[in-house]
Symmetry: C2
Subunit: 180 residues, 2 copies
Amino acid sequence: MIEPKSMGFWKKLFSPSKTKRRSQAIPFQGELVDQNIYCAQGKQILFSTEREIDVYELEELCDRVGWARRPVHKVRKALKFSFLVVCMWEVWGSRRRLVGFARATSDHAFNATIWDVVVDPLYQKKGLGRAMMQFMIKKLRKEDISNITLFADPHVINFYENLGFILDPEGIKGMFFYDS
Amino acid sequence: MIEPKSMGFWKKLFSPSKTKRRSQAIPFQGELVDQNIYCAQGKQILFSTEREIDVYELEELCDRVGWARRPVHKVRKALKFSFLVVCMWEVWGSRRRLVGFARATSDHAFNATIWDVVVDPLYQKKGLGRAMMQFMIKKLRKEDISNITLFADPHVINFYENLGFILDPEGIKGMFFYDS
């Protein structure tokens, strides 16, 4: 998960905006998170892999962790062309609210790279980020993707190591292109 | 570029096979590499971004650098779903032979990750790998991809640094998932 403190690198087009809490009244099918992890005040946490989500709701979630605002048309395109989109929803009655998100690019065969892992600050430290990533890894494995990768900020390396990710295996290093 | 010495991590399904040099008689349009870099014995080096290439010719190129043999149906799928496929061809008359290759996955909006960078050993150390990567970066930039990433073996980190890639910016680390 990427949090505000170390967003300097990712934050290229930061434009803060007011946070407004949305909820949607949409008939919803998803996978229920383990009941032991989270279920309170008649609300449940569900995961889905639908990609036709409200882009503004996604950007509001990203705002809540201090991420840079991104052009909506590009976010929409990124959702369309991601291999896997995972949403974590807080659900009560027929309403739901986006409280977590992650997506992966892939060649649909060998490699996947996970991007934009975000959990609403109110839902952090409850094991939900871990559950969302486990859900995602299971989906990628089911698609026979053997190489699941990501780029982790320093303060979340531990989080990913606990999920089974390893750092720089055999000295293989993550690199980013910068225009000179 | 990934070479045999450090292939332990990548080589999950290694099955050595006999190398046979192919060439194709196909009318060909591509971009000519800088004449100063390479042009000898009536042969030229051209780049293309076509993805309908002979998968067996690609696998033979990978054999020549000692890579693991991969299931052809998966290679075909990976080519189809890569965002960008770059081939480097040796061309003479109406014939051509694959001497370099790279591809990138992407969300078509923000991020691209480069995979499978390979140059025929006979064509290494001539500036052609560099030219191929510059061609690739130019294409990705033209598509407005702002975040170009890759995972580099230790012995090619210098090669990528010279192209403008940087290592672990702000401590962001490449990580790979392993089943526990």
